[in-house]
Symmetry: C2
Subunit: 218 residues, 2 copies
């Protein structure tokens, strides 16, 4: 059972997308502490979620402990949508975060709500698009290209594309890219030596050569 608790604060945050209100109205706001589980692998998928603040990570474990990170979800992103009726990946709070939770039953009761249907369809589309991109990255890119792609995406995800913040650990990055932490670390060092990026601390970086970073990402 999750330790998360519902927040009954009445104040509305600014809608993050034009269609955000459907979930805003129907959903329940919950807070999760860093490293807390939102839902577990193989649990029933009877909720839909949207990040309000913080970052969520989905991941899946193999029986021998190998881990694959599915994706990272930022404020505004919908997650928890599953092709089947069980969660194939677990979802964990990467940082302290607030999440809007919507029951599937509520969802079905509003099946005729066009705005809601649109949100779900767009979430599914985005999920599929990212999974396909992930397949490309994992299947055919070198470690160097993987790390460059990852950092490049981080910089373009935020509004300001000259720098990036990494809320996730090196282990998270490694498990997302299908590498080891050592390889991620070494590759980041090489990117710095090549004057393509520059880190201040290990969780924040600036892009020195945007074109080179983009080229390495293919």
């Amino acid at each position: 059972m999750s330790l998360a608790y519902p927040l009954h604060t009445a104040h509305q945050t600014k809608p993050l997308t034009t269609a955000a209100d459907a979930i805003d109205e129907l959903g329940l706001r919950m807070a999760f502490a860093k490293d807390e589980e939102v839902y577990g692998q193989d649990e029933d998928a009877d909720m839909l979620y949207r990040v309000v603040s913080g970052v969520v990570r989905t991941s899946r474990l193999m029986s021998d402990g190998r881990r694959q990170v599915g994706d990272f979800y930022y404020p505004g992103d919908v997650f928890g949508l599953e092709p089947g009726d069980a969660h194939r990946f677990a979802a964990e709070a990467l940082t302290d975060c607030v999440v809007l939770v919507l029951k599937q039953s509520t969802l079905r009761a509003h099946a005729d709500d066009e705005a809601l249907t649109k949100i779900i369809w767009e979430a599914a589309a985005r999920e599929l698009e990212r999974a396909q991109e992930h397949v490309m990255l994992l299947g055919r890119k070198s470690a160097f290209e993987k790390v460059a792609s990852f950092l490049n995406e981080i910089t373009h995800r935020g509004a300001d594309s000259g720098h990036g913040d990494l809320p996730m650990s090196r282990q998270d990055i490694a498990d997302y890219l299908g590498l080891t932490i050592e390889t991620v670390s070494r590759t980041i060092s090489r990117l710095q030596t090549a004057a393509i990026i520059e880190f201040e601390g290990c969780r924040r970086f600036h892009v020195r050569n945007d074109a080179a970073l983009a080229r390495l990402s293919e």
Copy 2:
């Protein structure tokens, strides 16, 4: 422009799923010769497809020629559904095949058709599920496990699970698994040496040790 031509044969094939009729009725039947392109990478996605006979492969090329195979589609499978409005992967006929083609415009005209909506939703769900499984395979499995997983899935896709047919080349398998043909070939040889599978010719095999194959697939 595709060389495929519409077939106006009136005879109906047996529906492959209970909900198959919606596409059967609205779609146009087209034949594609082996290696012919159904649609190209980055083309507009304005059709939805379902395999009637034969096998279809989706793939994507990087600018330097590296190729990633997205998936293989068998009779009954829907493909061509895209998260955006362009095809991220090309689709090619792996064998001579017949495909049902449905225009997006026709599809929108029947947006209220529940059966059709269900087909599309299920296709999207299946697509996402397979992409996620693919991510797991590419990110965290060894060459041995990748090949074993692949062969295991082939055997369970067909009705008779004791054997498998490979309509695709070693290159196709390699590009699906993120390996080279040599590694695929060597791994298959090792699986035979280990008496887990047995090939007759290079496109057909029997499973000798189902448990071992399943275990290697995780």
